[in-house]
Symmetry: C2
Subunit: 427 residues, 2 copies
């Protein structure tokens, strides 16, 4: 791995490019086709790109039943336990409304309610992750979303992976469709004959999915556009090089554009980790992917003090940050910007990906400065409520009219004043 | 006003177009210029488009002091009282973190912290609204954002409006810049010699501001892209036509693209409101703007039952919804989608724009289905924290490794398992 000494001048903030103009044009055309031709366009695209000739887009109950039957019961139990942990963590995110009453009989309030429908995109093929089903569906369920839909590209034989279907089954989701790419996002956003539109689309995907989500944003809500995975590890001489290397590789294996960064004060550890990465890489099934990520997007930064490492980590604002130092809790206290922080040697990052209960949908590309993990908050909306009494109106009407006129909005002033106009004739 | 009878088939959802390709290209070029040439580009654009030849972009303390001196003390008092109400409403939005401890010594937690810096864009000229300063700055302050910056286009004489400067002063904001349009957004997003970049940009603006916000989104956070103002009023025969008309016009006067909709069961009220709108319009200073909005984007919908009106209102999901019926509270309970609900005759919409305390930055274009008012939540971020104990790791490592292998992510499995590898040689 490349080793770079931290110095005050260098910027380690990360930005990853976002698709070519050709890709944007292609995505726009696909969305237009789906809006115009609905299911017929969906079936055509699914045959063209997924190689699957479907009769119906909807997964049948029978398909789900069969997937559950042939699925390894131990894995089903693991998924169920993971789902319980995730649900427990997200339950604490329930938001309440509030109401502030005044003595004059007026009140202002905030009402919290779930959005009505959400669609989760689940990537297909080798990236068909059951854990993504859990991480996207559970916050929506805890929020109280009444209609939750899954959509995922089928294999050539027209099926979805058992892991995805079983996860849906564990969570009680029955509305599942077979379709991928920009066309799936278009269907969720605008609806087709067989797929009713949703209010919010979440879930990861390739560049076409990301561009389509960006395109439909505003007509429906979307979650963040997730970039390639990132991990940064702050480690001192107390850390074990093989563990640091293994954790770096766990994120590197996601994507050739993934980034694995070690921030350390120890040259000895830096050397040992470099060697371990090389050695462990050789036997990794996804060696080519992880190797590219390590070669092109990964660095070991050497700092003189832990202080310097903390500053660098805050600048990087990584998706995942592990802290493997003697005083890991104290270091974690001083991290301002990270999607998720993993404290201590036994908090290996995949624990958060699958099991601990926190959400694995996290801000990438240094956006943890202002973004957060997917959460229950993403599936609710808040409505402001104002009830003014006659007395409150009487007490405040002049102030409000003055403020409106200060802004040159005479119509606003008159609206407030209209309550005292003569009423004989105008009902 | 146009009168339309509600029927099950019609769609009353609203969408407004988003800028031409030429405008998008122009905005991209401006952003590029500011990124390359910084202050020099800012000064050049400010001379070109605002007609102001500036030496410095920053408003001086002296300018603020002078504005405060010459400002009407009664209006300053009104603004201060409005600010207090807004602060009181937003204080209830403070979010807390939480931590869930397990018996095995592990924990998961959510930490809530403010974003570090926010920039508020304030439109200039006739649309330089002091109330916008209050509505954008106060949630950021309640969230605990440490650096809050205002930016607003100057008049030809190089000054900002007293109302804006006094509002900044009331809130204790001292970092104020003179610049407008796409260049102001670019400066906030990427920084120049005299303006340090911020993490989040909020505030309304014209189409160039909106397009620029869309363009920089991701590099920094942005609030929603607000469309033209909207009001819908549900009213029965108990409502006063002059008040309904005045409230409709209060939103119509914002923008020729604004929308004012009456939903009523009473033909008599519909007729009377139509007449009142026409009559009141004639004496409105912003008659041309309000008249265009009424003619082109406003409708009276007649329904047979209140039921039908509620269904239509939920489909419209308006920015502002007034309810002027005999059972206004009961109707409000059944509204699922609206930015803000104003209950009863004395809750005229401008009360919310200026004074009640709720935020006037609200979702438009039917996005209240999934979006909410600007709030403290928009200025915080959440960090997930995972601390696994050795025991927790021991108890769960096999499950986690199995789930990783189910997804074909061997590197993830090995990372979790690496804690039990032999340690002799690799530190």
């Amino acid at each position: 791995m490349k080793v770079v000494r931290l110095s005050s001048g260098i910027s380690i903030r990360r930005t990853i490019a976002e698709g070519t103009e050709q890709q944007v044009t292609a995505v726009k055309a696909i969305i237009q086709e789906v809006r115009e031709h609905g299911d017929q366009a969906m079936l055509r695209y699914t045959e063209k790109w997924d190689g699957a000739k479907l009769i119906s887009l909807r997964v049948t109950d029978e398909e789900i039943t069969q997937a559950v039957k042939r699925f390894d019961p131990q894995l089903a139990k693991d998924l169920t336990e993971a789902a319980e942990n995730i649900r427990a963590y997200h339950e604490s995110q329930q938001q309440k409304g509030y109401r502030l009453d005044s003595e004059d009989g007026s009140y202002v309030a905030q009402r919290v309610s779930p959005i009505e429908s959400a669609g989760l995109y689940v990537p297909g093929g080798t990236a068909a992750y059951p854990s993504s089903v859990l991480m996207n569906v559970i916050p929506a369920q805890v929020a109280g979303v009444s209609r939750i839909v899954l959509i995922s590209p089928p294999s050539q034989d027209g099926t979805l992976s058992d892991g995805v279907l079983v996860s849906a089954h564990i969570l009680g989701i029955t509305e599942v469709y077979k379709s991928g790419g920009a066309q799936a996002i278009a269907a969720l956003a605008y609806g087709t004959e067989s797929i009713a539109a949703v209010d919010k689309i979440t879930g990861p995907g390739n560049i076409f999915v990301a561009l389509a989500k960006r395109e439909v944003n505003g007509d429906v809500a979307i979650d963040m556009i997730a970039g390639p995975s990132e991990i940064a590890i702050i480690a001192d001489e107390s850390a074990y090089a093989d563990e640091v290397a293994a954790d770096l590789l766990s994120q590197a294996e996601h994507d050739p554009l993934a980034s694995a960064v070690l921030l350390t004060t120890s040259e000895k550890l830096a050397d040992a980790v470099s060697k371990q990465v090389k050695q462990q890489l050789a036997s990794l099934p996804r060696e080519a992917i992880a190797g590219a990520a390590i070669a092109n997007h990964s660095v070991i930064y050497l700092g003189k003090t832990i202080e310097e490492l903390i500053t660098a980590a805050n600048q990087l604002a990584p998706e995942h940050l592990e802290i493997m130092t003697t005083d890991a809790e104290a270091v974690a206290e001083r991290i301002l910007h990270a999607g998720a922080i993993f404290i201590g040697r036994f908090s290996s990052e995949p624990i958060g990906d699958y099991f601990a209960g926190t959400n694995h949908v996290l801000p990438t590309n240094s956006t943890a400065r202002f973004s957060s993990a997917l959460a229950v908050y993403d599936f609710i909306k808040r409505t402001s409520i104002i009830r003014y009494s006659e007395k409150a109106w009487e007490n405040n009407k002049e102030k409000i009219a003055r403020l409106a006129r200060l802004e040159g909005l005479e119509g606003h002033a008159r609206a407030v004043e209209s309550r005292s106009w003569k009423k004989e004739t105008n009902k």
